[in-house]
């Protein structure tokens, strides 16, 4: 004999059963995403579904900005225009000098048989908003994979490196800032060419050089540029300035805190550099086992800091 309730009292599985089901589903997703990175396909599909809502949410700010720009006073614009003209003149001179120097350096490189550095492709993008994740330091920019942005590309502003594209959606991408705890960048001290790796220090907005011996030759005010040995960041981009060096005899490593060069937490426009454009192609006669090694070992190391685009 059956004692099931009539269908209009049927409420489905018990709440605890449902909780167990959905909690285990979420935990499975978490493990898949955090450990194996298998959830990216699902993420990109759902990202298209939430994109209309996201763009609608950022619309008021964009419209407000446009209206404010419309009412900018003429004198302000003229002043800014004159300022920009002066700056353009100054920079074009610098660019001419840079071009000459680049040609000369290319000639010299050909002379010594070193590989010539290829020009970088840069895409200008605007920062839309801060990422809505208090546990990570990310921003969202308005260029995505349809605009030629790829995951892994370095992002710079007028003063230096800002971060790296970690996820490229169709019409927007996420940039992880250098100050994120999980972001690392290979750097070089301009003064003496010492190489190191700078890690984000998280909420303080600073960078840290880890695993530098206590007697390493680093002083306050040293400028750090990218060393380019990772094959991701082109060499010579300004990264940070050493702000504090703490040497404690009790520890094997010095504690070195650096102030990022770029306006990482502020600023509106950035350049996304194309990571692929500067890859030096493998030589034709390369043997298969050499082919597997990343190209960074053959890359020339340069100490000049003037290659910022």
């Amino acid at each position: 004999m059956e004692h099931s309730p009539p269908p209009f009292f049927n409420r489905g599985p018990a709440p605890l059963v449902r909780l167990a089901f959905f909690a285990s589903l979420s935990l499975a997703l978490l493990v898949l995403d955090a450990r194996f990175r298998y959830a990216e396909g699902l993420r990109s599909v759902l990202a298209l579904a939430v994109y209309p809502l996201q763009s609608l949410a950022t619309l008021p700010a964009a419209v407000g900005e446009r209206i404010a720009g419309y009412f900018a006073s003429q004198s302000q614009l003229r002043e800014e225009n004159a300022e920009l003209r002066a700056k353009l003149l100054e920079l074009s001179q610098a660019a001419q000098r840079y071009e000459a120097a680049q040609a000369e350096s290319g000639q010299l490189r050909r002379l010594v048989g070193a590989a010539e550095r290829l020009p970088l492709k840069a895409t200008a993008a605007e920062i839309l908003y801060n990422g809505r994740d208090p546990y990570a330091r990310k921003v969202v920019i308005d260029k995505g994979s349809s605009g030629g942005v790829r995951a892994g590309s370095p992002v710079v502003d007028a003063q230096g490196v800002v971060g790296q594209v970690t996820r490229a959606h169709a019409l927007s991408s996420e940039v992880t800032l250098l100050t994120d705890k999980e972001q690392a960048i290979p750097v070089q001290v301009v003064r003496n060419g010492l190489r190191a790796v700078a890690f984000g220090a998280g909420a303080s907005g600073m960078l840290e050089l880890r695993f530098m011996a206590a007697n390493a030759d680093i002083q306050n005010g040293d400028r750090l540029v990218t060393s380019g040995i990772d094959g991701t960041y082109p060499p010579g981009l300004p990264v940070a300035t050493v702000a504090r060096v703490e040497r404690d005899a009790a520890y094997a490593f010095a504690r070195i805190v650096c102030q990022p060069a770029a306006g990482i937490e502020s600023g509106g426009y950035v350049l996304v550099l194309d990571a692929q454009a500067k890859r030096i192609p493998y030589p034709e006669e390369a043997s298969p086992e050499r082919d597997k090694r990343p190209g960074k070992f053959r890359k020339p190391r340069r100490k000049d800091a003037d290659a910022a685009p």
Partner: protein, 175 residues
């Protein structure tokens, strides 16, 4: 026995419409995607509206809706997949469990219950992120849930508005 603060609230409500629930959840998603300067201080509107419907209509909105909204928030915010899904599933479960109790209190005491619920959800997602290796961003992450709970009376009144609208009155009827 007093169930609500205002005499108007003591009226029998109209049945809820699906369009109200869906519309309010979509609006909450939109509010969550607004660009905030300080993310830690921004209230989680989706969690708030989810708690509201779980308390009011536990048979219509529950764990499944919470999980789905959580996944959408995870994707939209670009955080770890499943972080908000887990937090919202647990939040929906807790809200359904408390739903028989919460509505007996006046709005401000309800807000205290909601504060506990939202803090619990924030705690779950913080635990998930810390387990995944993120750094603790500071106690300011508890401010958002408290602001969200303070918005509870406003949200309750706004979301019940459509159920409080009078049915159209027939002037020619005798009674």
């Amino acid at each position: 026995m007093q169930l609500h603060d205002s005499p108007a609230a003591r009226r029998i409500l109209l049945p809820v419409r699906a369009s109200t629930i869906l519309g309010s959840l979509a609006l909450a998603l939109l509010a969550n995607f607004l660009p905030w300067n300080n993310v830690a201080l921004a209230p989680d509107f989706v969690a708030l509206v989810l708690v509201f419907w779980c308390v009011r209509e536990p048979r219509l909105v529950g764990l499944g809706a919470g999980w789905l909204l959580g996944v959408l928030i995870d994707v939209g915010n670009g955080v770890l997949m499943g972080q908000h899904a887990l937090a919202y599933s647990l939040l929906a479960f807790a809200a359904i469990t408390l739903s028989r109790r919460v509505l007996w209190f006046p709005l401000w005491s309800q807000a205290l219950h909601v504060a506990a619920l939202l803090l619990f959800a924030q705690g779950v997602s913080a635990l998930v992120r810390l387990a995944a290796g993120a750094e603790f961003p500071g106690w300011s992450i508890a401010v958002g849930p408290l602001i969200g709970a303070a918005l509870w009376p406003v949200v309750s009144v706004a979301l019940l508005m459509r159920q409080r609208m009078p049915v159209d009155v027939d002037e020619t009827r005798a009674i």
